[in-house]
């Protein structure tokens, strides 16, 4: 009985959480334009989507920004973490606290403050400002996934490499970097995901005439919801879900190895 209640609770929880998304996905295959009636299965909305130039343009923008933001934020985040190896733990946790603020901060506050900063610096809104904004909010995510590896690292391994005649750079690439790679990969995937599905910060920093998928959907919805939007949202959901599942896979596989060590 207790078991049954547990399962019931979990099922209800999942239904409440995922009912809206399931509705969306179901409607994206609905032949009828009505939201209340099932008109049979169709892939028309997905096909229409592919031939929609505005969507294609927004998709390219979204991907370009996500990829570039991921690359830059991963590089900056990784180097910051490596530099923090040399700091004492007090200074290290202070810097971690400061870099975490954009992550905890409400997106709308981050978005508006970035917009104001760009205005103040006379940086024209558009592609560049979105990219800069995305790099900014991605860095903490990258650092957050690399830092735990640095905290648990056995630095004797680095000294051992030096001891065996390796130059500092060679010793670093052979000992510290391999340990960081899983953290870097999951950080990059996390950054990519965050960048891909961001709306609020993008909205405030994009200016006019430049659309990403999320801002495009928002504009379309204002004009009246088209079933194509369901299809587009469903695709974004599936892509983000897949990426997140990969992100959570990466560190868990590594912790397994760690426990084997002991």
């Amino acid at each position: 009985m207790k078991n049954f209640l547990k399962k019931l609770y979990l099922t209800l929880l999942l239904i409440f959480m995922y009912a809206p998304i399931i509705t969306l996905i179901v409607l994206s295959f609905n032949a009828s334009k009505s939201r209340a009636k099932w008109g049979g299965f169709t892939l028309d909305w997905y096909i229409n989507l592919l031939s929609d130039e505005a969507v294609a343009g927004a998709l390219i923008n979204t991907l370009t920004i996500a990829i570039l933001a991921t690359i830059f934020s991963t590089i900056i985040g990784t180097f910051t973490c490596i530099a923090m190896i040399g700091l004492n733990s007090k200074l290290r946790s202070f810097i971690m606290g400061v870099t975490n603020i954009p992550m905890i901060n409400a997106d709308i506050v981050t978005g508006i403050s970035l917009m104001l900063l760009f205005r103040f610096l006379h940086i024209g809104t558009g592609f560049t400002t979105i990219l800069l904004a995305h790099i900014t909010f991605n860095i903490p995510f990258v650092m957050l996934s690399i830092m735990p590896r640095i905290k648990n690292m056995n630095f004797y391994v680095y000294e051992a490499a030096l001891d065996l005649g390796a130059s500092p750079v060679y010793a670093f690439t052979k000992t510290i970097l391999p340990d960081l790679v899983p953290g870097i990969v999951s950080g990059a995937l996390m950054a990519f995901t965050m960048s891909l599905d961001d709306f609020i910060i993008t909205y405030f920093t994009k200016g006019s005439g430049f659309e990403t998928l999320s801002t495009l959907i928002y504009n379309e919805v204002k004009r009246g919801i088209q079933p194509e939007i369901y299809a587009l949202s469903a695709i974004i959901f599936v892509v983000v879900l897949t990426l997140l599942m990969i992100v959570y896979r990466v560190p868990s596989s590594k912790t397994k190895e760690k426990t084997n060590e002991k």
């Binding site: 056995n154 004797y156 391994v157 000294e159 051992a160 490499a161 030096l162 001891d163 065996l164 005649g165 390796a166 130059s167 500092p168 060679y170 010793a171 052979k174 000992t175 391999p178 190895e257 084997n260 060590e261």
Partner: protein, 357 residues
Amino acid sequence: MGKDLITLRNICKAYDGTTILDDLNLSIYENSFVTLLGPSGCGKTTTLRIIGGFEKPDKGQVIFDGQDITDLAPNKRQLNTVFQKYALFTHMSVAENIAFGLKIKNKSDSYIKDKIRYALKLVNLEGYENRSPESLSGGQQQRIAIARAIVNEPKVLLLDEPLGALDLKMRQDMQYELKRLKEELGITFIYVTHDQEEALTMSDHIVVMNQGYIQQEGSPETIYNEPENAFVADFIGDSNIIRSTMIRDELVEILGAKFACVDKGFGNNKPVDVVIRPEDIELVAPEDGTLTGVVTDLTFKGVHYEMDVETCGRELLVHSTKLSAVGTKVGIKVDPFNIQIMNVPVSEDEEAISETV
């Protein structure tokens, strides 16, 4: 003894204002097994890391084979280290670990292969080439770490508490293994440990350290039998340290009774510290003893009995294979050779400094 291979001159090192090493001078002879022994925080590991090049001394020089290597990077030094926590490269196989240093030196593949086989044979792990370090036990990992260091043919092998993470049985086996390796390789070993038994078993030369100062140097026998101060006496093995009076040469008054001894030159009627090892106290019939006492505690230790004997308001620790039951009145006798006289330190600072070599 051979010639000096490593000389430390006036080494000083402090971290955040705390002095770790203060004007340390030490010579290490070629082809010797030297152990730096002391409690944690005594500066032994820092000394080793300065020799390895992982720390720079604030002051002083490190001379290696006649050359000043104080500012030389660790990867340029002709010595290798075995670290406390193995520090194996976990993403490489055993063979790749051992080959690491040789590949950097651009040795040929066949040379590297031969060396790996030779090194694995030396540490009794033949056939482990393709294993992952993580699949090995602690003792095996430490052997791989040793193999990885010695294939580079260093003149000196530094060992930083290499047996610290192993269990007792494994530790004892490895002690003999290390001694054998040292003989086979014919190189200098500098070994750091806080375990006095390890130091006595393996070393040719022991350097006892405390609070950044060398307390005493010498062979294991000298350190054990003739400790120069209370710290060394107390740290190496069990001992009874008793504040006494040196009446004149070869006569000392301990707990009110006069004992013959063999030490001279401490002056007349001067306070001294006397060290008597628990196994050197003989329990005899009360009328035959220089002092009399009562057994207050008895513990069976396997090889011997450990007894507490109360005499003149003091407890003395006695090891004997003969049992004297609790409550027995006993006489206490000590052979003159087994009474070790030490100067009384005037201040605590002097206690730390008193390195009369």
